[in-house]
Amino acid sequence: MSNKVLMIDGDRISGNEVRAQNVLAVTAIANIVKTSFGPIGLDKMLIDNIGSIVVTNDGATILQKIDIEHPAAKILVQLSELQDQEVGDGTTTVVILAAELLKRANELVARKVHPTVIISGFRLACTEAIKYINETLAVKVETLPKDFIINIAKTSMSSKTINDDSDFFSKIVIEAISRVKTIDYKGDVKYPINAINILKAHGKSAKESILVEGYALNCTVASEGMPKRIQGAKIAFLDFNLAKTKMKLGQKVVVTNVNDLEAIRDRENDIVKERISLIIKSGANVVLTTKGIDDLCLKYFVEAGCMAVRRCKKEDLKRIAKACGGTVLITLANLEGEESFDTTALGVADEVVQERLADDELIIVKNSNKKLASIILRGANELMLDEMERSIHDSLCIVKRTLESGTVVPGGGAVESALSIYLDNIAATMGSRKQLAISEFAESLLVVPKQLAVNAALDASDLVSKLKAYHHAAQTDPSKKSYAYSGLDLFNNKVRNNLEAGVLEPAIAKIKCIKFATESAITILRIDDKITLNPREQQGGDHEGHGH
């Protein structure tokens, strides 16, 4: 089939060849991230072509940084990105699982099972697996002891560099997230993670990271003459320049008299002075702007005892304004065509203070009862700080998902092994060729506990068989139901009840992981023809007139 006179400018490969090639590419990708999987996984150091370095353990980050060309491998990179967006954690798991599914599917194809049969088998297995998680494995959070949420945060940190201090960091994460809890107009509880600002400051040890009950801005006051601490702050949020008025393009000032020159200069200053006095009169004692404030204007603020901060990030301002009940103003114009400053646009905070931290100065808007939180991370070097930030972000996402969805599952390979046994049993009831596909799907799921064990330098075959035995007992013997929560204890080389041990993940993360991995595997499996068109040549006179 592949060797036809298909007159196109490019290469074409089809049939088993393309499938094998795709599987190879995908396996290569999975091999890269495989060793960083699990609590005892190791990190990768990535150096790009301009020499900047990233050290990370996060699957999505690794895959994003490396330049991947193969289209099938790209699908896998997108997959990990998707998992990152939708869940925020489990990005490595999803890639490993998809690659394993494809590898096994390819073996089935080699044994003359038609891909479409495998696809329908996989689909069935995926649906059954999700049903089983929802109905049997998922545990409602209400039934768990109160500290479960800390355990969730700890589990997600366990594979990261901050694992050693996970007690410490999980407390910070939980506290931060409980501060930003909001209820929208429909009555749904939301945890906007964006409202938590994560700042990195070089120096000191990781343990000295702090949670600030307020919002920290990476800026300083505009002038040394301003107060550094204002209590009972009334904040004006501006999104325009406070500088001498300039005429717009196409407007010229022509001076015919020397005296006029002075008058015009004064007027230029006066226009902005009037604006500032409007702001000050409204009672504002803190002014935050996204744009600049020129020296002349600073003077007025200093005289009034106001704190002014310029060049804040717009995103930050919006967050603070929302939490403090203020509005970001883009102009002072009012509906009468005049200029005024509406006092309702002012935000209120307990205290705005400039603090010194490491080499930097930070502005902190403190507000004990408002929905703001900032985490200031400390660390010995930049690379570590970056990785800490990613880990905290993952943790925040996971905690948010758990609180919003309300169900958890035990980690440590427990779900995968349980599903594997369950699907194997289903496969046995099937009379058609789908049986093969389903049992391969079941087998593929075991890659998760296996890889966990391998990365921990344990005997994978031994441990996984033990784990399987527990789950088999749980599903056949009603008296041993609690065995369904058995997972690996990688530090002590044994099987334990991970629900009690507090190794937990949100159920939604597992479900999405299996769903996405299956979908991507199917997308790649369906391809039986790859056509690569050559890049278009430069349009030369020689090629004109052809192909009509």
Binding site: K4, T116, V117, G250, T327, I330, R526, D528, I531, G547
Partner: protein, 534 residues
Amino acid sequence: MSAPATSAPAKMAPSRSDFDEKEKEKDVRTSNIVAARAVADAIRTSLGPKGMDKMIISPNNEVLISNDGATILQNLELRHPAAKMLAELAKAQDIEAGDGTTSVCVIAGSLLGAVSQLMGKGIHPSIISEAFNLALNKSLEVLVSMSVPVSLTDRVSLVKSATTSLNSKVVSQYTNLASIAVDAVLSVINPATAINVNLKDIKLIKKLGGTIEDTELVQGLVFDQTASHTAGGPTRIQNAKIGLIQFCLSAPKTYMDNNIVVSDYSKMDKVIKEEPKLILEMCRKIQKSGCNVLLVQKSILRDAVNDLSLHYLAKLKILVIKDIERDDIEFICNTIGCQPVANIDSFTADKLGKADLVEEVGTSDGKIVKITGIPNPGKTVTVLCRGSNKLVLDEAERSLHDALCVIRSLVKKKFLIAGGGAPEIEVSQQVTAYSKTLTGITSYCVRAYAEALEIIPYTLAENAGLHPISIVTELRNKHAQGEINSGINVRKGAITNILQENVVQPLLVSTSALTLATETVVMLLKIDDIATAR
């Protein structure tokens, strides 16, 4: 599928000289047939519910995964003129029926195979083309006689045929798309009188995130862009009165270069205050008309809105959606019953559209604005497509388009026919019988035509991993015994009454596929020389 005797040595990337220099020496027809058949063979594997996908990597490294014949051929950048004709053929089928684009190419390829055998026996092309036309007419008769009339009020049958069309796509596991397609078409036409559907009245909006199950039909409008947040305006408005403007809410500019000369400082204030005044006046006028949602057409000459006007509009509690495309204006007007306003002076209350709710909704890939609860639904609808990644989303959109086209075909020609290869095998048998009433070479050619049609059930079986020869022969047997609706049930891997399995397709898809394929083949046959004009 034996290769023609005189075929050129196979090359992966032939140079252009393959078909312009040596053309005189070779038989032009053979070259054309070989090229066209190669194309047909290339997309054969994507036919049917168990067909596979193709991955195409374009010159600028974009990846496309598709199962849709027309899409694949369009992106292949074919060079051979005959191959291009086949790509055109798929496109023609796409325009006419919207579905069956793969089938039409496969049939054409098989007919060309038959032609090359007939020509090998020394039959003159003009006789072959005459005979093929005869066979085509007979085939169409058979198809029409097999069909079952359907009423547009019979929603179940419509959903069935949409499902059949979606079965071959990657999105086949999602059952909701078929009913969305049916509901979308039915809500923009009057089932009693409609003879055609304007698919422009159904707008597909793609948004990443969620899964295909989240795809929904919106009786109203969906905008890909967000409401303007710059000045913190409202994002949710009930009992909306919607205005659509085509002018700019910013300081006016003259066409010629202009200078304003200020010679007195007291006039400076006046110059500075002039702009807010002007804009405020416009905003006031808009508010006076009762408008609380403003759609602003995109402008490339000037800023359609500026910070100042957004600020005023936000203060007046008017929700602003900017950057509306010019092409969408008509659709929006049809939907919400507003009129576009080109000048502020003509912005009056009677030009506003109404809706119960205008709301900004968050998705994982940014926000969208939904306008729902419009007073007279039934003119237009919007389908919001969701998908977990870009490739799936694009394919979902194409599949949905196919499904919409299938329903449109049913509106055009209100007859259904069985799927699963049943019509082709029946036509094949009837035409064979017909050939026996003819004499001479014509009879021979008609018979070859009939046999060529068996390619569809053959390929269906092959793609489903079944044994093609045993399936096709069994099918022939069943049809010979008068079970005209027997077809291949790829799910069970057996032959069953395909009508009972709910595998149905519009008659128009089958007739148009046969007509277009035959006409293309006849045309290719009549070419006996290629001259390159420089």
